[in-house]
Symmetry: C2
Subunit: 380 residues, 2 copies
């Protein structure tokens, strides 16, 4: 915020009570966040699988550092530009899990590869040829993963022939490009609500990955890395013996969408990320309007929720406009009064985090630190 003139400063200062934080603000409950951070790291250790968390969820160097301190081998990013703040902050091992096309992107990839150990994702020979030619000329070496479609019906090759053709194409740039493995991610499976239906989808995806791996083996092609999985399917993928690393992102926050999944009896992740908002208007009878809206929360996966301990048993969000969130209650006495501050669980953490410049971190109701969302808006 370049317009800070003593008023538009940070929404809070370290040591402030949460009740003094300006609104709307994105806030993080550090106890729950650390619980999540450690739980996923422990599960990966127990299963002998590398943890490479996806930074697209948090876009924050501070969180990436904590993930690595807890045992992560590196991070994923979804876009080349998103990787920059992490590389510049000294995160050494970055996998950009998404395809890209065009001269400017290739130039960005070459530049980025000089700043960290960079792994890239391809699913078409033309991408490989462009990267190979640029890497050879720039005398850099690029690590490439081939994305395979394991049921997401989005990116990725869909046949053995296409996979083998890509690996061959990568080998033609030997010395400049290196095939390191498969990107096998099924985004849609993460949010299948029923536990057994989600497990079923994972088993089907696993069959596809396994058959690709067998073909590579038959062709004598070494495939050291199989990367994929997410917060929703990690509990299955960690024990499948297929993945050498998993790339969950949302587990540090657990948003509303993931919160509505059915989980197993294992200890589960906790909601740690909230939008703190103030009641700015109320008709005193049936509704109270809070001071955040579509510019403070993404509603692509549903409207924000109010936790039971915040009154969520009787309060529901009925509408979200640009800068308004309408809360209704069947009980007049539960309706929040003007000035009341509440925590709202965002439906989808990734695009919500992208709306803010900072996360205000609190513990036991007191602001402990304020972290930048360094890669906010970096979608190039």
């Amino acid at each position: 915020m370049k317009h800070n003139k003593g008023v538009l400063t940070a929404p809070a200062a370290v040591g402030d009570p949460l009740s003094a934080v300006d609104t709307p603000s994105l806030v993080l409950d550090l106890d729950s966040f650390e619980f999540n951070l450690n739980l996923m790291a422990k599960r990966c250790r127990q299963n002998g699988v590398d943890l490479r968390p996806h930074a697209k969820s948090h876009k924050s160097v501070e969180i990436a550092r904590r993930q690595i301190a807890a045992g992560a081998v590196g991070i994923c990013c979804q876009k080349l530009s998103e990787a920059y703040p992490f590389a510049e902050a000294g995160i050494e091992d970055i996998f950009v899990t998404n395809e890209f096309v065009g001269e400017k992107k290739v130039a960005m990839a070459i530049d980025l590869a000089r700043r960290c150990q960079l792994t890239l994702c391809v699913d078409h020979p033309s991408q490989v040829v462009a990267l190979g030619a640029a890497a050879r000329q720039a005398k850099v070496r690029l690590r490439l993963m081939v994305e395979v479609d394991i049921g997401a019906k989005r990116c990725g090759v869909t046949s053995y022939t296409a996979l083998l053709e890509l690996v061959e194409c990568i080998r033609e740039f030997n010395g400049s490009l290196m095939f390191v493995g498969l990107q096998a991610f099924h985004g849609g499976a993460q949010h299948i609500k029923g536990w057994s239906e989600r497990h079923e989808a994972v088993l089907h995806s696993n069959e596809i990955v396994t058959s690709y791996l067998l073909r590579l083996k038959d062709a004598g092609i070494d495939c050291p890395v199989v990367s994929g999985s997410g917060t929703g399917t990690a509990e299955f993928d960690l024990s499948s013996g297929i993945f050498t690393e998993i790339q969950p992102g949302s587990y540090v926050f657990l948003d509303g969408h993931y919160g509505s999944n059915e989980w197993s009896g294992l200890p589960q992740f906790r909601h740690s990320l909230f939008v703190l908002s103030t009641a700015m208007s109320s008709n005193g009878e049936s509704r109270t309007v809070f001071d955040f809206g579509l510019k403070g929360v993404s509603v692509d996966s549903g409207v924000p929720k109010i936790l039971p301990e915040q009154g969520g048993q009787s309060l529901i969000v009925t509408r979200v406009n640009d800068e308004h969130c309408v809360v209704e209650s069947q009980s007049l006495s539960d309706l929040p009064q003007l000035g009341k501050k509440l925590l709202f669980v965002p439906g989808h953490c990734d695009p919500t985090v992208n709306l803010y410049q900072q996360i205000v971190c609190f513990r036991n109701g007191v602001v402990e630190s304020i972290w930048d969302i360094d890669a906010r808006g970096l979608s190039y």
Copy 2:
């Protein structure tokens, strides 16, 4: 973008062909934009109604300056913090069309009132008392509008008694606070698709405003300003004789949601705002994936659309994930090839603009200027 090191620079340079602009980018067709700018200004002039465009749609000082050059009397903002970059850029007359509560907000309002002619919005006596006490102490004078609920069921008073009580309360701070009129906005009516159904809703709202105005007159209370309306209902509100000023925002861009309204036979606003995106993955059979997603477009009012001249007769957007937009076609020959750039009309312009730092402005396929989105993310 503080991480610019020669690569993460602006997505384009003046003089670039549109085809060279990095993606995803927010782009503006200047011919259509200027057509929209002048059309609304002309209609307001013809009807003798002031135009006070809503800057929450564009958040851009450059656009506000052009609106004022075309005849606007000032601008609206939706948040106090949003008003700052405009006030600092010399926009003199700003109306913040939304209630707020809390010490920090009141302090921000007082500070802002020293930087421009500021008008604020209230719907509860406690807001008036807080502003009155602060204005008196700071020796500034605040102009207040009382919001009345004309059918939106969101903010605003809902009875004559409440309105009169508020005006009385404002008068108690005579010299520090001044009642200037009514804020009468029905957001929901803007997007009623059918022309006659929308007209019907406006007529109903007009009855409510008229009855409030009569009560004020009966009570001997002067009400110089009645402000409201938007892009969807302006054609009715301009000729109703009720509004002294209108506050449309989206008309400069015409997003997909407004584009799907039924309009009268009058000349209509044109789509001027697009997301420019590159095809980054394609299975070559049924789908092509473009390089933008929920972090580059808001889907609260539907997925982005492809105009007929861009292939939109056979291409449809079937899915939008965080950084992916899946386009499908029933005709294989129409499926965009890898590297193809397309323009997408965002479903809802306001939250989409808020995702970008700049708007790349083009005319006849060439970049003519690049404007900052100065108030991006300013929702405090």
